[in-house]
C-alpha cells in the first residue's frame, strides 16, 4: 500500500516542470561569456601594475581608456572615426548596389553571365589591396581612391553570392511561377529576388567584413586621417596607447556593423528567422 502511494507520488513529481532557476545552463553560459573578457582585462591591468608585462608594448587597460577619453574630449577620435565611417559607408554602397544588380542580371540571363563571369574569375584572385597604387594613380590621394578600393573589394563578394542565390533557387518555385502564368517581371519580383535574398544578405555581410579590412590597410599607406592612419602613425611615433585606441575602435566598428546587418537580415528575410 505504502509502496503504491509512493510510486504515485514519484510520478506526480516527475510530471511537474522544474521551478525556474537562476543558474540554468543558458544563464551560466551567458554569465561566463560576459565575465571572461572582464577577467582578462583584470589580469592585464594587474600584470601591468605589478610589472609582469612590458607596458611599452602592452599598456594597462586603464591607460588605454584614459587615452581614449582624452581623444574623445579633444575631438581627435571622432575625426578619425567619422572619416573612416564615411569612407566605409560610401564605398560599401558603391560596391554593394551594383554588385546586387549585376549579380541578379547574371543569375537570370545566361548571355550576361557568359560575358561577365570570365572577367570575375580572372580578377577575383587579385588581393584587393594590391590595386590601391593603381587607384591612387587614377583617383589621386583624396577620398575617391578610398571609395574605389572599398567598392572593388565589396562588389565581388556581393556579386558572387547574388549569382549563387539566383542560380540555387529551388526549381519548384520556378515551376509554380510558370504554371500560374507569372510574367517575367513577376518572376523577378515575386520569385527570383526573394528566393535569392538569403544568399544576397550573406554576401552583404561578408562584404562588410572585407570593407573594414580594406579601409584600415588602405589608410595605413594612403591617407592622412582615419582609424588605419591613427593606428599606423601612433605606432611610428610610439604612442602605443593611441594605437590600442585605434584597435579598440576598429573592433567596435566591426561589432556595430555586424549587429546592424543581422538586424537587416531579420527584417528582409523574416522567413529565415528561427
Amino acid at each position: 500500500m505504502s509502496t503504491a502511494t509512493s510510486a504515485i507520488a514519484e510520478l506526480d513529481s516527475a510530471k511537474e516542470e522544474p521551478a525556474p532557476r537562476l543558474w540554468t545552463k543558458r544563464n551560466v553560459e551567458r554569465f561566463l561569456s560576459v565575465i571572461s573578457p572582464i577577467i582578462l582585462l583584470l589580469f592585464w591591468q594587474l600584470g601591468a601594475a605589478l610589472g609582469w608585462i612590458d607596458t611599452r608594448f602592452f599598456p594597462s587597460p586603464a591607460a588605454i581608456f584614459e587615452e581614449a577619453y582624452a581623444m574623445i574630449l579633444s575631438g581627435e577620435l571622432w575625426m578619425h572615426f567619422s572619416i573612416s565611417l564615411q569612407r566605409i559607408v560610401i564605398g560599401y554602397v558603391l560596391g554593394a548596389v551594383p554588385g546586387v544588380l549585376i549579380g541578379l542580371a547574371m543569375g537570370l540571363f545566361g548571355p550576361i553571365r557568359a560575358i561577365i563571369q570570365p572577367l570575375i574569375d580572372a580578377t577575383f584572385p587579385i588581393p584587393k589591396i594590391a590595386v590601391l597604387p593603381l587607384f591612387i594613380m587614377v583617383f589621386g590621394l583624396g577620398e575617391q581612391s578610398k571609395y574605389a578600393i572599398i567598392a572593388t573589394a565589396v562588389i565581388y563578394l556581393v556579386l558572387i553570392n547574388t549569382v549563387a542565390g539566383v542560380r540555387n533557387i529551388d526549381k519548384i518555385y520556378l515551376d509554380v511561377g510558370k504554371n500560374f502564368g507569372a510574367s517575367n517581371w513577376m518572376m523577378f519580383t515575386d520569385v527570383a529576388l526573394p528566393g535569392a535574398l538569403p544568399l544576397v544578405v550573406a554576401g552583404l555581410k561578408i562584404g562588410m567584413g572585407i570593407a573594414l579590412l580594406v579601409i584600415v590597410s588602405a589608410e595605413f599607406v594612403g591617407a592622412r586621417s582615419g582609424i588605419g592612419y591613427l593606428i599606423w602613425t601612433s605606432w611610428q611615433v610610439f604612442q602605443v596607447e593611441k594605437m590600442y585606441v585605434g584597435l579598440l575602435v576598429s573592433a567596435v566598428l566591426g561589432f556595430g556593423s555586424a549587429i546592424l546587418l543581422n538586424y537587416l537580415e531579420r527584417v528582409v528575410i523574416p522567413w529565415k528567422s528561427r
Binding site: 504554371n179 500560374f180 513577376m186 520569385v191 523574416p270
Partner: protein
C-alpha cells in the same frame, strides 16, 4: 455575327453529360539519361471527361508525374496530340480563366509570402487588383480551414497546413483543370484522411476536372471517378477502372472505406499493379 455563342448553344455544351475535356492521342515522351534514351511514356491514348475526378496510379518511375507535367505545360511531349476543350463560357475580354493549375507534391508554397499572398499568387499573375485578390483569397482560405492564418508565414505552419495553402492557391485561381501530383504523399496518415475528405468536399462544390496522380491505391479509390493504372516504364495504359459506378457521389471517405466492396476493388487494382511494381523494381534506370 460575332464569336459569342447564343445562350442555348452555351447551355447545350454545359449540360452535355460526358463531354471530353482532355483528349490525348498517342502521347509519347523520351529523354536522355546518361546518354541512354529512356522512354517515359510509350503512347498514351486517353479521354478525360469534363468535371471528372481522374486518378492515375502506377509504380514509381512509370511516367505518371511526367504525364501530369506535360499537361501542366512544365514539360514538352516528344510526340502525339493533346486536345483540351476549353469552356465556351470563358470570355476573352476578362482576365482569362487559366486552363490549369497544379498542386505540387513537395513543399511548393513560397516561404517569403504569407498565406494570403500565396493563395493569391495566380490572381496577381492574372492582374487582379489588390482588393479583389484579398477578397477571393480570403474565401478560399476559409474553405480550406485556414481562417485566422492569413498573415502567417509558411515556416509557422505544419506540413498539412502548407498543403492546404497549396490547394487553396490552385482553387482560387479558378482553373478549368486541376492537376494534382501526390499532394498528400508527404503527410502523416491522419492528416491525409482529413485532407482527402476536405478535398472531396471542395471538389464537389466546384466540380472541376481533376487529374490526380498518386501511388496510393487507397487514395485513388476514395477520390476517383475513374482510375488509370499505368504499367512500369515505359509508361502505358494498363487498365482503366470505373470507380464512379461502384461508389456513387456524393461520397464520404469513411463510407467508402467501410464498404464491403472496398476490399474487392482494392484487390482488383492491386492485382493489376503488382506485376508492374515488381517489373519497375527490376528496372535499373528507375
Amino acid at each position: 455575327m460575332g464569336g459569342t455563342p447564343s445562350a442555348d448553344q452555351r447551355s447545350a455544351v454545359k449540360f452535355e453529360p460526358a463531354a471530353n475535356k482532355i483528349v490525348l492521342e498517342d502521347v509519347r515522351k523520351r529523354f536522355a539519361l546518361k546518354r541512354r534514351e529512356v522512354v517515359a511514356l510509350a503512347g498514351i491514348d486517353l479521354k478525360i471527361r469534363a468535371g471528372e475526378f481522374f486518378c492515375i496510379v502506377g509504380p514509381s518511375g512509370c511516367g505518371k508525374t511526367t504525364l501530369l507535367r506535360i499537361l501542366a505545360g512544365l514539360e514538352t511531349k516528344s510526340s502525339g496530340k493533346i486536345e483540351v476543350h476549353r469552356d465556351p463560357r470563358v470570355r476573352s475580354d476578362t482576365r482569362v480563366r487559366p486552363l490549369n493549375s497544379m498542386v505540387f507534391q513537395e513543399q511548393s508554397i513560397f516561404p517569403w509570402k504569407n498565406v494570403r499572398d500565396n493563395v493569391a499568387f495566380g490572381l496577381k499573375a492574372r492582374g487582379f487588383s489588390r482588393q479583389e485578390r484579398a477578397d477571393i483569397a480570403e474565401a478560399y482560405i476559409l474553405k480550406v480551414g485556414l481562417g485566422g492564418f492569413e498573415n502567417a508565414l509558411p515556416h509557422q505552419l505544419s506540413g498539412g497546413m502548407k498543403q492546404r495553402v497549396s490547394i487553396a492557391r490552385a482553387f482560387a485561381n479558378d482553373p478549368e483543370i486541376m492537376l494534382m501530383d501526390e499532394p498528400f504523399a508527404a503527410l502523416d496518415e491522419q492528416t491525409k484522411l482529413i485532407l482527402q475528405a476536405e478535398l472531396l468536399r471542395i471538389w464537389e462544390e466546384t466540380r472541376k476536372t481533376v487529374v490526380y496522380v498518386t501511388h496510393s491505391i487507397d487514395e485513388a479509390i476514395v477520390l476517383a471517378d475513374r482510375i488509370l493504372v499505368m504499367s512500369a516504364r515505359p509508361g502505358r495504359i494498363k487498365s482503366i477502372v470505373d470507380i464512379g459506378r461502384i461508389f456513387p457521389r456524393p461520397r464520404h471517405v469513411d463510407t467508402v472505406k467501410s464498404s464491403a466492396r472496398y476490399g474487392e476493388v482494392f484487390g482488383e487494382i492491386w492485382s493489376l499493379l503488382r506485376d508492374e511494381v515488381v517489373a519497375s523494381a527490376r528496372d535499373p534506370s528507375a
